[in-house]
Each structure stands twice: as C-alpha cells, then as structure tokens.
C-alpha cells in the first residue's frame, strides 16, 4: 500500500512503477498525473486523485474509490479507468482508445475531441448526468450517458455534440428536452443499437453492482453526425 500523504506526483508514480503488476495508493489529495502513460499495472486509488489522472494511459487499469477531478484519461490510448463517484471537466479529452466508466456524474466537455481509428474505439460510460458540451468536436468513439439519479435534471446540459463529426453518442432518454445542432442526427435506438448498448450497460452494471435488466427498460437515443448536412462555409464563402 502506497501512502500518498505528503508525496508529490513523481514520487507516487515512481512507487506505483516499483510495485509491479498491482498497486494500491491511499490518502491521495490532489496530486496530478497519477498513472500517466502507464501500462501493465492494476492500480486502485483511495482519496482524491488530482487533475489528469491516467493521462496518456497505455493499457493500465485504474480504479478510484471516490471522485476524480478534471481531465481524467486525457489523451488515453488504452486501458480502463473506473471511478466510483463523479468526475470533473474535460474527461477523456482527445481519447483514442480504452474505456472510462464513471458511476455518477461528469462535468463539462466530457469526450471532447475523442477519436477512433480501425479497432481503436474509445468508450466513455457515465452513469449519472453529463454537463454541457458533451462530445464537443467528437470525431470517433462512443459516449454513453445513463442518467441515473438525475433528480429531474436533464441528462446532458447545453450544446451537446457541438462540432461532432464522427463516433456515436448514446443517451438513456427520449431527449425531448435536449437541443442538438443541425449537423447531427438524433434517433431512437434500433434493435441493432440496443444490442450494442447492452454491452456497455452490462459492463457498467457489473462494475457497480446494478441490475442491467431494469436499466435497459428505457428509451435510448443515438446521436451520430449527419453526413447529408456536413459542416461547410462555417466562416466565409470562398
């Protein structure tokens, strides 16, 4: 067990690397860049890890027992981050592989600039609600928001999918109260979609101990870019 109390982030990361294939960190309090770029290790974290947790993560598994701050999984390439709480803003910024599962809510700009290439398809699953600008400039990958314990809030804030031109967003809601930009298509999930959604829901439920059957018994909306209405002449007509 690595006691992070009083340690800087370099020391923590050095200790995690020295621990081998499994590491546990306790008393974390705001140290940034924990597990940045790591692969081949399974790390559990108690306390509040600082910004950029698992940035550039390259295959490691990171589990946080409570909340995490901003920029979780920034530019991550592979691996898994699981958060038994909520996360701050800009989670999964420019993420290109791996997955992030969050039990509760996400802040603003989750999945901004996410991308995919061939078999590298990043996934973010948010159990609660997401803030504004979800999937801003999304270019690939899958973002799922389940809207659990929303207390009457909208499942996502303002301006979701702004600038989206790739990938897929799945929202567990009819989304009658959500305004999407003109360049995307929001539709009710087909049976094919539901089969895919079930994969993410099952994994979420397995991690956090929730009944998937009840969760699936709900309308889902799937949002994708509208290729018939691409972004053009955004600024000036040349």
């Amino acid at each position: 067990m690595i006691d992070a109390g009083g340690m800087g982030f370099c020391e923590i990361n050095d200790a995690v690397r020295a621990a081998g294939s499994v590491a546990a960190v306790k008393n974390c309090l705001g140290q940034r860049f924990i597990c940045a770029g790591m692969s081949g290790v399974d790390v559990t974290i108690e306390g509040v890890p600082g910004n950029a947790l698992g940035a550039y993560l390259n295959g490691a598994t990171v589990t946080v027992s409570g909340n995490a701050q901003d920029a979780v999984g920034d530019t991550m390439n592979d691996g898994r981050i699981t958060v038994f709480g909520s996360i701050g803003d800009a989670a999964g910024y420019a993420m290109r592989g791996g997955s992030i599962y969050v039990r509760d809510n996400a802040g603003y700009r989750a999945g901004i600039h996410m991308k995919e290439y061939k078999d590298k398809v990043p996934v973010i699953v948010i159990g609660g609600c997401a803030g504004s600008f979800l999937g801003e400039y999304q270019a690939g990958g899958v973002i799922v928001v389940l809207g659990l314990n929303s207390d009457g809030r909208r499942i996502v804030g303002n301006f979701p999918c702004t600038g989206m031109h790739g990938g897929k967003m799945i929202l567990r809601s009819e989304c009658g109260d959500i305004r999407f930009p003109n360049q995307v298509t929001a539709r009710a999930a087909s049976s094919e979609d539901l089969a895919e959604i079930r994969k993410y829901v099952d994994e979420y439920c397995r991690l956090f101990g929730i009944d998937p059957v009840e969760l699936m018994d709900s309308p889902f909306t799937v949002v994708t870019p509208d290729s018939a209405n691409p972004y053009k002449q955004l600024y000036v007509a040349n």
Partner: protein, 364 residues
C-alpha cells in the same frame, strides 16, 4: 523593472473559500491548508486571503489596509487621510519574518470614520466617499496603495505562495466567519504585491481564476462611472463591475451574475418561463458592456456572505461541498478535503450559475 500596471504579459490560478452559515468564527489556518494541495496551480508570484468578521472591535470603522514604498509616502498619506477621516487607530499590520517572503513594502492598517463635514460638503454617502478616496490614493499618490477598504473585513496579500503568505500575515491569529484565498500564476503582469488577489473595494473582495477576454470592453465601460483600473489585471475590473452593479445599481447577487455571465441568446430563448426569459433579456440589453467573456471562476466575498460563479462556458473548474453549517468552495475537490476530509454533497455548479451562501441574520 516595470511595475504592475506598466506592462502586460499575455493566467492559471487556485481559489478556495469557506463560510460558516451560523456565523461561527474560524481562524485562518484551515483556508491556508486548502491551498497546499493546489500548489501547482500557482507559481509563487502572488497569494492572498480575505477574512470577514475579523475586526469585531472596530466593526463600524473602515479598515484601510495599505502598502507604502517608504516612510515619507506613509507620512504624506496619513496627513491626507486625516483631512478626510477620523483615524481611530493606525498601526503596522503584524507579520512574521520568514525566508519565503521577502522585499515587503511598508504594510499598515488604519481604522477610520469619514468626517461628517467632508460628506456634507461633497454631498456623498459614506461608501461613495470611501471609494473615491481609495481611487484618489491609488491613482494619484505614487508609492501608496490601498488594498483593502471594507468594514469588519480585511485582505492580506503578497508576492509568494499562498501558504507562505498566510503564515507571513499570521492568519492563525485572526478569526472570521468566512475566508477566501487565492494562489496566483500571473500571465499578464509581472506580479507585484498590489496585484495579488483578492481585489477589494469596500467590503467586496474577489478572488479569480481565469483570463477574461472582455477586459478592455469592460474597462472602458466601467471607467465611465469613476472607477480607475490601475493594474491592467482582469480581476480588478471584475471587482469594480460588481461594486457598480450591486452597490450603485442595487441589483441582487443573482441579477449581477446574470449580467456578467449572461446566458447565450439561444439559451435565453429556450427558457420555458416567460418571466425569467424577460428578466435575462432585460439584463443583457441594459448592461451589454458588462458581459464578461473568456474563462473565469470567481468567489465574491461580501458583508455576510459569499458568491461563487463560473463563466457561462465553464472554462475553469470549481466545486462546492458542505459539512454541517459550513460551506466550502474551491478550484479542486482536494482543496475542500484538505479543509474538511468528511465534506459532503460535493458538486460542480454549472457555468453562469451563481452559488450564494449567506450567514444567518444577526449571527455575526
């Protein structure tokens, strides 16, 4: 070296605050603790604190905290103050000599009451008179700078890391019902004692993390009303805007928040409540020059409360937590946990959504 206000270098920062709704007084130690885990957010070029309820023995007097460059400036300024105020007490602000804080100016405080004759002569109310005096000193008296001017509150700031600044000013010896704190990472100005946060006018104090892009538009507008922006820093203009909206225009805190972090027209149009829609439209139309764009998260301290606010796009982070009668605000959850490990209901307000916490009436 060019002084603050003479140069602009094209900020990251840390903010934190705590308030007891019951009006219970706390020493400055906890708020110093809040800044420790956020050390990487500042670079040692500015730290500061504001405490409310710290001068109960002088609660009816304006507490002027001042920097002077030399003894002569102080003497000249004291003569000036005595023409305008009854100076009940003037003293050095107690500090602790520590290696981390050096090159301090002469730091004094004066507890003053405006002379009735001066108020009647100028036909001004007390607060406006104090504001004009502060502006006069800060723009016209070289080497003298008023950095705090409210009643029963005070600002303490310096060049250094905030945890060192707090020790330097012996904040463990003060007790207040609310505290705000700031760690600075200046990107526009070189970092001088006067340019550290909080920025204060009367009992309003502002700590700010961000970099507003509407600075010059806001400055031009607010300078029409007698405010002088002397330091080229965006926080100074935010402080004056809030004084203008709250004290002079009499807006509520929520209304002022809706002016400076006004929702987009499309968001206003989509609001289902016609009363709210009209109010938002009205405020944006009447005060277009006071819309603050670009990233900011601020905590406004005032007599009896705090208001936290993010820019409408929420380009900076801010979280709020509670424990019992106390409410905590900070740039990072880690800072809240440093003050109160068992803080509950941690949440992040939306962009443009003001969080107002007031001390129960009569409890301070």
């Amino acid at each position: 070296m060019l002084r603050e206000g003479e140069i602009r270098i094209p900020s990251g920062c840390a903010i934190a605050a705590v308030i007891s709704k019951a009006g219970e007084r706390m020493t400055g130690e906890k708020i110093i603790d809040a800044m420790r885990p956020m050390r990487d957010r500042s670079n040692g070029l500015g730290g500061g604190f504001a405490g409310y309820g710290i001068y109960p023995e002088y609660k009816d007097l304006y507490a002027l905290h001042m920097f002077f460059d030399c003894r002569d400036t102080r003497k000249a300024c004291e003569a000036f103050l005595k023409e305008r105020f009854e100076v009940v007490k003037g003293e050095l602000i107690p500090t602790r000599k520590i290696p981390e804080i050096t090159d301090e100016p002469i730091i004094w405080r004066y507890f003053v009451r405006p002379l009735r004759s001066c108020l009647e002569d100028r036909q001004l109310d007390e607060k406006e008179f104090v504001v004009r005096t502060v502006m006069k000193i800060n723009t016209g008296m070289n080497g003298a700078y008023v950095f705090s001017s409210g009643k029963n509150m005070g600002t303490f700031k310096a060049v250094g890391f905030p945890e060192d600044v707090g020790r330097f000013y012996r904040l463990d010896e003060y007790e207040g019902y609310s505290w705000t704190a700031h760690g600075r990472y200046p990107t526009n100005t070189p970092g001088w004692w006067g340019g550290a946060h909080p920025f204060t006018l009367l009992d309003y104090s502002v700590v700010h993390n961000g970099e507003i892009s509407s600075y010059d538009a806001n400055r031009r507008y607010i300078e029409m009303f007698g405010y002088k922006c002397t330091l080229k820093t965006d926080t100074e203009v935010i402080t004056y805007i809030l004084d203008y909206l709250l004290r002079r225009q009499g807006l509520t805190l929520e209304e002022a928040a809706n002016v400076i972090a006004a929702p987009f027209w499309s968001t206003i149009a989509a609001n289902p409540d016609p009363v709210i829609r009209n109010r938002l439209r009205y405020l944006r139309t009447v005060f277009p020059g006071l819309l603050i764009t670009g990233p900011f998260s601020i905590v406004l301290g005032f007599d009896g409360g705090l208001m936290a606010l993010n820019d409408r796009l929420k380009l900076r982070s801010m979280v709020v937590g509670e424990k019992g009668e106390r409410v905590y605000i900070a740039s990072e959850e880690a800072a809240i946990r440093a003050m109160e490990p068992d803080a509950e209901h941690i949440w992040a307000p939306s962009g443009g959504e003001p969080v107002v916490i007031q001390v129960k009436e009569g409890s301070f």
